[in-house]
């Protein structure tokens, strides 16, 4: 079976996010001062061949831990559905 995973990798809340801060500043500049608290991370979409949803989840979990996220600075979350 083929599954699609949508993964968000975000900087940990405890850490500064200079990119997000810069974007918050730009919002103000273009008249969107009502927007704040911007944080910028990565979104990863991928497909995985697996025997079951559980199997797909364990593969995605491994991919997040080993490649996609740096757990010292980032947290990740994902959703998986049959593709």
């Amino acid at each position: 079976m083929r599954f699609k995973a949508e993964i968000d990798v975000m900087p940990l809340d405890a850490l500064l996010d200079p990119q997000g801060k810069a974007v918050t500043g730009s919002m103000e500049t273009i008249g969107l001062g009502s927007i704040d608290g911007v944080r910028v991370g990565r979104h990863v979409r991928l497909f995985v061949e697996a025997n079951s949803a559980q199997d797909a989840e364990s593969k995605v979990e491994e991919a997040c831990k080993k490649i996609l996220a740096n757990q010292i600075m980032e947290s990740y979350s994902y959703s998986i559905e049959e593709a």
Copy 2:
């Protein structure tokens, strides 16, 4: 009212995604060859002060168009909820 928006900005399907391609290669290297079609974009979380959900949506839409996404190369999608 305060709303939280979760925004995904992804490279258009018609375009190459070298970063995604590199990640797909790395998956193979670490024994996750069952993962393919990786595409890497950005995930943005932000908060917006607005009078209604509709108002919040129009502000997020404007932020996506003007700052967060380059519509020549990227598509965006978002979800908004009360924070």
